[in-house]
C-alpha cells in the first residue's frame, strides 16, 4: 500500500530539468549585466560614439555641410608630407614636454613650500590657485597684451629702465613666440599641480618623518625616501592630467597667436580646428585630431606602467 502511494507520487512529479531561461533568470551575473547597462550606454553614447565618429570622419573626405566618401588613409598620407602638420606635431611635443616638466618642478616646489609652517598659510594657498580660477580666455587675453609687439608692459618697463631700446618682438619671432606661449601655459597650469601635490603631501604621516629624524636622516634623505615614494601615486595622476591638458591645449594659443607667427605655435588642436571648422575640411581636421590619440595613449601608458608601480594601483592587493 505504502509502496503504491510512493510510486504514484514519484510518477506525478517527474524531475524537471530547468530550462536555460530559468537558469538565466536566477543567474547573478546576468543580473549584473543589466545593472551595468545604464552606465555602459552612457559611456557609449557620450564617449565612444563621438570618438568613433571622429575616427570615422578621418577616413572620409567630409566637408562641412556634406558627408564625405570613404577615402581610406588618404588624409593621413597627405598629412604625412604636410610640413605645417609636421611642424604642429613638433610644436605640440615641445610645448607639452617643456611646459609639463616645468609645471611639475615648480608645482612640486610650491607644494613643499606650502606644506611647511608659514604665516598666512590659508591665504597663501588660496592665492596660488588664482591663475587656475581665471577663465583661460581671460588670462590668454591678458598675456596677449603682456606680449603685444607694440604695447607690451615688459618691453615698456625695460625701455624705461634703459635696458633695451626697441620693443621685444614676443609673438612675432618664432622662438620668442614659442617660449611666450609656453610661459603662459605654465603660469596657468602650476596651481593645479601644486595644490594636488599639496593634498598628496598632507596624507604622508608625520610619524614617518619623526622616525626618520630620530634615525638622523637629512632633509634630502627624508624627501627622497619618504616623501617621494609616498607621493608617486599622486604624481602619476597629476602629471597624466597635466600632460593631457597641455597636449590638447587650444584656447591659449588661439587667443594669443592663432598658431602664428608662420605657424610656429600651431598645436595639433589648433591646426585641426583651423582646417576642420574654419577651413571646412572636416575629414582632414578629424585626421589631425585622431593623430593625437597615439601620443595621448603613450602618455597615459608611461604614467600607468612607469609611475604607478604599486600593485593596488593596478587593481591588485597592496604589498
Amino acid at each position: 500500500m505504502t509502496d503504491a502511494v510512493l510510486k504514484s507520487r514519484l510518477a506525478k512529479r517527474p524531475i524537471q530539468e530547468p530550462t536555460s531561461w530559468e537558469r538565466l533568470k536566477v543567474n547573478r551575473n546576468w543580473l549584473g549585466v543589466w545593472f551595468m547597462v545604464p552606465a555602459a550606454a552612457f559611456l557609449i553614447l557620450f564617449l565612444a560614439y563621438p570618438l568613433g565618429l571622429g575616427v570615422w570622419l578621418s577616413f572620409t573626405d567630409a566637408k562641412i555641410g556634406r558627408s564625405g566618401e570613404f577615402v581610406g588613409l588618404e588624409n593621413y598620407e597627405w598629412l604625412w608630407d604636410d610640413s605645417t602638420f609636421l611642424l604642429s606635431v613638433f610644436n605640440t611635443i615641445l610645448y607639452t614636454s617643456v611646459a609639463s616638466a616645468i609645471k611639475f618642478a615648480v608645482g612640486l616646489y610650491l607644494a613643499l613650500l606650502l606644506n611647511e609652517r608659514l604665516p598666512f598659510k590659508a591665504i597663501l594657498r588660496a592665492v596660488v590657485l588664482i591663475p587656475f580660477i581665471v577663465p583661460t580666455v581671460l588670462s590668454a587675453i591678458a598675456f596677449w597684451w603682456i606680449f603685444d609687439p607694440q604695447f607690451s608692459i615688459i618691453s615698456w618697463s625695460l625701455k624705461k629702465m634703459g635696458i633695451i631700446t626697441t620693443n621685444i618682438d614676443f609673438l612675432g619671432d618664432v622662438w620668442n613666440a614659442r617660449w611666450s606661449v609656453i610661459f603662459a601655459n605654465i603660469w596657468r597650469g602650476v596651481p593645479f599641480v601644486a595644490i594636488t601635490l599639496l593634498a598628496g603631501l598632507q596624507t604622508v604621516s608625520p610619524s614617518l618623518y619623526e622616525a626618520a629624524t630620530i634615525d638622523g636622516a637629512t632633509p634630502w634623505q627624508r624627501f627622497r625616501f619618504i616623501t617621494y615614494p609616498l607621493l608617486t601615486p599622486i604624481i602619476a595622476v597629476v602629471m597624466t592630467f597635466s600632460v593631457l591638458f597641455t597636449f590638447t591645449d587650444f584656447q591659449l594659443i588661439w587667443v594669443m597667436t592663432r598658431g602664428g607667427p608662420v605657424n610656429a605655435t600651431h598645436l595639433m588642436a589648433t591646426l585641426s580646428y583651423q582646417r576642420a571648422i574654419i577651413g571646412g575640411s572636416l575629414g582632414e581636421g578629424a585626421a589631425i585630431s585622431t593623430a593625437m590619440i597615439p601620443f595621448l595613449l603613450a602618455a597615459i601608458m608611461v604614467s600607468w606602467f612607469g609611475l604607478q608601480r604599486r600593485k593596488w594601483q593596478q587593481g591588485g592587493e597592496n604589498d
Partner: protein
C-alpha cells in the same frame, strides 16, 4: 541719434536731414507701406533669428536694430539678432548647415554661402528685385551672390580695406600724397621707417587685414592662385616677384607684424606707433572719438597699382544667406529685401560712417561719401574689389584657401625668412592642389 548729431564729420545739414528724415512714426509708416507692396508676404506667426557679424562701429548696430524693429512692427515678424565676431560666424553657420538647425539667417564674411551652397535658400527673386530697383549690382557682388544661375545669398555690403596713412609724417618723408605705384610704395615705406615713423601690415593669422593685403600683393604683381578653370597656377615668376616685394616691404615695416591679428594695427595706429597700414575706416572713426589729432592728420588711399597696371584690391564682402531649413522662407526674403530698401539702407550705411560700402549702384549718391572727403575712397571699394579666389571660382574652394591662410602663410613664410621663395610657393601650391582637386 545723439551720437550722430555731435559728430563733427557729418557736417552737412543735408546729410543729417536725410538720416533724420525717417525715424519714429515716419519710419514705421513707410515700413508698413513697404510691407504692403513687397512681393514677399511673411508666413503667419513667423519668427526669425539671425546671426550677424559683430559691429565695429556702434552707431551702425544701433541703426541696424532700429531697422529691424521697424520690420517687426510693420510685418509682425519678431527677429532675434545675435552677434559674433566675423571669424566666428562661419564655424557656427557651418555647424548649423551640417545639423540643419540654428538661426534662419546668417550674415557673414566673403564666400560663406559657397561653403554649403546646397543649404542656402534660393534668393534669385530677391536679387533681381533689388537689382532692378536700385541701379543694378556691381560685378563683384554678382560673382559673390551667385552659384551657377542661382543667387544663394544677397551681398549686403563690403567693408573696404584701404591704406590708412598719416599726412604730416609722410610729407616730412617727401610724400605729399600716398604712392600710387608699388615700387614708389617701397620707397615710401623705406623713407618712413628711416625717419622713425614706420608702418606695417599684418602678417599674422588676421582673417581680414592680413588676407586683404597679401592677395593685393600677389595679384598686383600678376600672381594668381588658380586660373579661370580653377587650375592651380601659383608657381610662377610673378608670384616670386610678389614675394620679393612683400619681403622688402616687411623689412621696411615696424617689427612684430608677423604676430599681428586684425586689431593690432588699429591699436598701433591710434597710439601713433605706426603711420601707415591697411584697414577699414574703423581707425578713422575711432580716432575721431579718442584721438582727434590722429583723425585730423590721417587720410585714406587706394592700394598702389603694381606691374599688372590695374587695381587688384580684395575687400571684405558681407553676404547674408537664409538656410533652406528655415520654416519661414518668405519672411527671410522679405527681411533681406527690407534691409536693402533705399529708405532703410541709406541712413544705415550713413551711420556706419564709411565702414560699409554698398553693392547697389544707386547708393553711390549717399551723402556719407561726400560729406567728409576722407571717406570718399571707400565709396568705390565694391567696384574695385576682385573676388576671393582671383581669376578662379568664388566657391567653397576659394573660401577654404582663404580660411586656411594659404596665401597669407606663403607670404609670411618668405617674408620672415623661414622658407626660400621656392619652398614657400611649394608648400602653398601643394595645399592649393588639394583644395582645388
Amino acid at each position: 541719434m545723439t551720437d550722430f548729431s555731435r559728430r563733427a564729420v557729418v557736417k552737412g545739414a543735408t546729410a543729417l536731414g536725410a538720416a533724420g528724415a525717417l525715424t519714429g512714426p515716419a519710419l514705421l509708416d513707410w515700413a508698413k507701406a513697404w510691407a504692403q507692396s513687397a512681393p514677399w508676404k511673411p508666413e503667419k506667426g513667423a519668427k526669425l533669428s539671425m546671426l550677424r557679424w559683430k559691429y565695429f562701429v556702434q552707431a551702425e548696430d544701433d541703426a541696424f536694430v532700429k531697422l529691424i524693429a521697424a520690420f517687426t512692427q510693420a510685418t509682425g515678424v519678431a527677429v532675434d539678432i545675435s552677434r559674433e565676431s566675423y571669424e566666428d560666424v562661419q564655424p557656427k553657420a557651418s555647424v548649423a548647415a551640417n545639423t540643419g538647425t540654428g538661426p534662419d539667417l546668417f550674415w557673414g564674411l566673403y564666400s560663406l554661402p559657397h561653403l554649403f551652397p546646397q543649404k542656402c535658400l534660393d534668393v534669385t527673386d530677391v536679387a533681381d528685385y533689388l537689382g532692378k530697383a536700385h541701379g543694378g549690382w556691381v560685378d563683384s557682388a554678382v560673382k559673390y551672390g551667385k552659384n551657377g544661375n542661382k543667387w544663394i545669398a544677397i551681398p549686403i555690403c563690403y567693408s573696404g580695406a584701404l591704406i590708412n596713412w598719416r599726412v604730416e609724417a609722410s610729407k616730412k618723408a617727401g610724400f605729399s600724397a600716398f604712392p600710387t605705384k608699388t615700387d614708389e610704395f617701397l620707397e615710401y615705406a623705406k623713407a618712413m621707417k628711416a625717419q622713425g615713423t614706420p608702418g606695417g601690415m599684418a602678417l599674422g593669422h588676421a582673417s581680414g587685414d592680413g588676407n586683404t593685403w597679401v592677395h593685393w600683393a600677389l595679384w598686383s604683381h600678376g600672381g594668381q592662385t588658380v586660373d579661370k578653370d580653377d587650375k592651380v597656377i601659383l608657381n610662377s615668376p610673378e608670384t616670386v616677384k610678389a614675394l620679393e616685394f612683400a619681403k622688402t616691404l616687411y623689412g621696411h615695416s615696424i617689427p612684430g607684424t608677423a604676430s599681428w591679428n586684425d586689431s593690432s594695427n588699429n591699436k598701433a595706429f591710434l597710439a601713433k606707433e605706426i603711420h601707415w597700414t591697411n584697414n577699414g575706416i574703423s581707425i578713422y572713426v575711432a580716432a575721431q572719438n579718442s584721438a582727434k589729432d590722429v583723425a585730423e592728420d590721417m587720410n585714406h588711399a587706394y592700394f598702389p597699382i603694381g606691374p599688372v597696371g590695374k587695381t587688384t584690391e580684395l575687400h571684405l564682402m558681407y553676404p547674408i544667406l537664409a538656410m533652406t531649413y528655415t520654416k519661414y522662407p518668405q519672411a527671410c526674403k522679405a527681411l533681406i529685401a527690407f534691409m536693402l530698401a533705399a529708405d532703410n539702407f541709406n541712413p544705415w550705411i550713413q551711420s556706419a560712417k564709411g565702414y560699409l560700402t554698398h553693392c547697389l549702384n544707386e547708393y553711390d549718391k549717399n551723402p556719407v561719401w561726400t560729406a567728409d572727403p576722407k571717406t570718399t575712397p571707400y565709396r568705390d571699394v565694391a567696384k574695385r574689389s576682385l573676388t576671393a579666389g582671383g581669376l578662379g571660382s568664388v566657391g567653397e574652394k576659394a573660401a577654404t584657401a582663404i580660411a586656411d591662410f594659404v596665401v597669407l602663410d606663403m607670404f609670411a613664410n618668405y617674408a620672415t625668412g623661414r622658407e626660400d621663395a621656392k619652398g614657400a610657393i611649394a608648400i602653398a601650391e601643394r595645399q592649393l592642389k588639394r583644395i582645388y582637386r
